[in-house]
């Protein structure tokens, strides 16, 4: 009952000092809005990163990178053919527990011509698995590179959506047509789906069988590949898989340790560290804003109390205990912070909308309005208001009744 009437009086008291109360709320409003927007930006960014991570093989992906051989192997380093298609075939034979094995070779930019058009593209030699690991799909009517294509060094190409429309107008018309790459005729067997993530690079890639790419476009004598990836069936297989890959490749590389099997665990760790540092730094800013908001409320409460010393005296004279006075003033601070928190949540919606328009979307990031962040922002603001109310309310509760009553 005392708490109920304290809240009613709190609302009335704030109604009497609308402007002053609003000023004291601004800190809280900004704090909540900053908190929600910060969480929205970080979550959106991290969701974008996660999506990219997933579409490029996820955590189960191991990549075999080229590294400098250790110094004691300098003398025999030349014996190793480095990473070649032989590695790819060897792994396929000896690592049955792998889910997918893929090889790739990035070629230079190539001039592409059809009967009616021309464009530029990045030619990429691949094996069939790339389509699954990197999540490329082909529009209906066409197909991706097959094992047969790789074995036969077929002159076939899978164009990007953008390239197909440049060369043939309607991408659907491209399948079955021929194009010329540096004067060599290729059959178009498929066109990639239009890429929703809209990445610049993905819109300009054309896939050829890796054997074909090496045969026609690599420098003479160059049989190396520059992408070799293995996808595990399960994260738990990674240690065993790593071991198997290393043993297999040591044979094909003639004992030279010029490769390294990299898992993406470290990358994921890095990413989590990044996420945490974002949350701590931006969260710190939001927390400081809320703290400043709390100080604002405490200030207004102190002002309000020194204006109302006589009222406190009267209330005590007719029987209010220190606790009653304490509850009254804490309730008033709470009412301010609840209203402030509520307005802050509303403001955060606007702020997030604004940020959504300002942030670039091609990185896959989307500023998200998080209901959880809004709830936390609101709860924090109420806690801050409560804490800010305690000290002034204690001061009021401890006023001696005679002094308060005599106060003019």
């Amino acid at each position: 009952m005392i708490i109920g009437s304290a809240i009613i009086h709190g609302v009335r008291e704030i109604g009497k000092h609308k402007f002053r109360s609003f000023l004291s709320m601004i800190g809280i409003i900004l704090g909540v809005a900053a908190l929600v927007a910060m969480v929205g930006v970080v979550e959106g960014m991290m969701a974008g990163f996660r999506k990219t991570f997933e579409t490029t093989g996820g955590i189960e992906r191991l990549s075999i990178d080229e590294v400098e051989p250790p110094t004691h192997q300098e003398a025999i380093a030349h014996l190793s053919p480095k990473r070649t298609l032989a590695d790819y075939y060897a792994l396929q034979q000896s690592v049955p527990i792998a889910r997918r094995i893929a090889a790739g070779k990035d070629m230079n930019w190539i001039n592409m011509r059809s009967q009616n058009g021309r464009t530029w593209g990045r030619a990429i030699g691949t094996t069939p698995e790339i389509a699954e690991i990197d999540d490329y799909s082909v529009i209906s009517g066409g197909r991706f590179i097959s094992d047969w294509d790789v074995q036969q060094k077929s002159r076939v190409v899978v164009l990007s959506h953008r390239q197909a429309s440049r060369l043939f107008g309607d991408p659907k018309d491209a399948v079955g047509e021929t194009i010329s790459l540096r004067g060599i005729v290729f059959n178009v067997i498929g066109v990639q789906e239009n890429d929703e993530t809209g990445q610049w690079m993905r819109q300009r890639q054309a896939f050829l069988p890796i054997s074909t790419a090496i045969h026609y476009f690599a420098d003479a004598e160059d049989i190396t590949i520059n992408r070799l990836a293995v996808q595990a069936r399960d994260m738990r297989d990674i240690p065993e898989l790593t071991d198997l890959i290393e043993r297999t490749l040591l044979i094909t590389h003639k004992g030279v340790e010029d490769f390294a099997v990299e898992s993406r665990l470290e990358q994921l760790e890095e990413f989590k560290k990044l996420e945490n540092s974002f949350i701590f730094s931006l969260g710190g800013v939001a927390a400081i804003t809320l703290l400043v908001g709390g100080i604002g409320i405490a200030n207004v409460m102190l002002a309000s109390i020194s204006e109302r010393i006589r009222e406190i005296g009267i209330r005590k004279a007719v029987g209010a205990r220190g606790t009653d006075i304490f509850v009254q003033f804490v309730a008033e601070a709470l009412v301010i912070s609840v209203i402030g928190g509520f307005l802050g949540v509303i403001a955060s919606v606007g702020l997030v909308e604004l940020l959504r328009d300002l942030m670039p979307t091609d990185k896959g990031g989307q500023v998200a309005l998080s209901a959880r962040a809004m709830a936390w922002g609101f709860i924090f603001s109420v806690v801050v208001g409560f804490l800010a109310g305690i000290f002034p309310a204690l001061k009021a509760a401890r006023l001696p009744v005679i002094d308060a009553l005599r106060y003019e």
């Binding site: 009952m1 009437s5 009497k16 209330r315 004279a317 029987g319 209010a320 205990r321 220190g322 009553l405």
Partner: protein, 228 residues
């Protein structure tokens, strides 16, 4: 039977290096149903006496019995309980809360005594007793001085107190309203209310049935009779 017994009550304050003896060995009995006036010039200690009798302060030494209980050393929340449940106050400056309606002002002691049952009705009854039943929803600022003091008296009455303390209750009123307030006090005492007036105005003091004279923190005499 005595409602209040004071036995060699002292109240000393320290002001810098000096000790001010606001009350110095006061012994006094006030009976149930008494109508007493504490009379003395300003600085005589009558305000201190009023604070002690009103449970707003505590004595430095001596004992105070209220309604059979020793109340010399009470915690501040216990004193608040007495103020809410056993006492009524009437002040010179009325001391109504301007933001609250007349009814809410009168109800305040009941709220703090946690006596919420029928509290609105009890507050209205108290306002009827002082002839202010027609003003329940007004704000104090909309009332005249005399009306405000009657509302304050209703607030003092609302919890059926054992004792009403009136501190210079007529100090801010004109003659006509002084008469009305004093008549109201007379009627309350006739109905059995114990009442103590604190004043420096002899004319007002003479309404009481006994006068307690205070000077320099000491009781210098009691006088029975007054106006009777």
């Amino acid at each position: 039977m005595a409602l209040i017994e004071l036995d060699s009550i002292c109240k000393h304050y320290r002001m810098g290096n000096e000790t001010v003896k606001a009350l110095d060995g006061v012994s006094l009995e006030i009976d149930q149903g008494a109508y007493s006036a504490v009379l003395g010039p300003s600085g005589s200690g009558k305000s201190t006496m009023m604070h002690l009798l009103g449970f707003m302060d505590f004595p430095t030494s001596g004992s105070m019995i209220f309604d059979g209980d020793n109340v010399s050393e009470l915690s501040s929340s216990k004193r608040a309980w007495y103020r809410a449940n056993r006492l009524g106050f009437v002040f010179q400056t009325f001391n109504l809360l301007p933001r609250l309606s007349v009814l809410e002002n009168v109800r305040l002691p009941l709220d703090y005594a946690r006596k919420t049952r029928n509290s609105d009705q009890r507050a209205k009854d108290a306002l009827e007793r002082v002839g202010m039943g027609h003003r329940v929803s007004h704000r104090p600022g909309q009332l005249s001085g005399g009306e405000r003091q009657r509302v304050a008296i209703a607030r003092a009455l609302v919890n059926d107190p054992k004792l009403i303390l009136a501190d210079e209750p007529t100090g801010n009123l004109d003659t006509k309203n002084v008469e009305r307030v004093m008549e109201l006090f007379d009627r309350l005492v006739d109905e059995g209310q114990t009442l103590i007036l604190v004043t420096h105005d002899l004319e007002v003091a003479q309404h009481a049935r006994s006068i307690i004279l205070v000077r320099d923190g000491k009781l210098v005499g009691t006088e029975e009779g007054g106006r009777e």
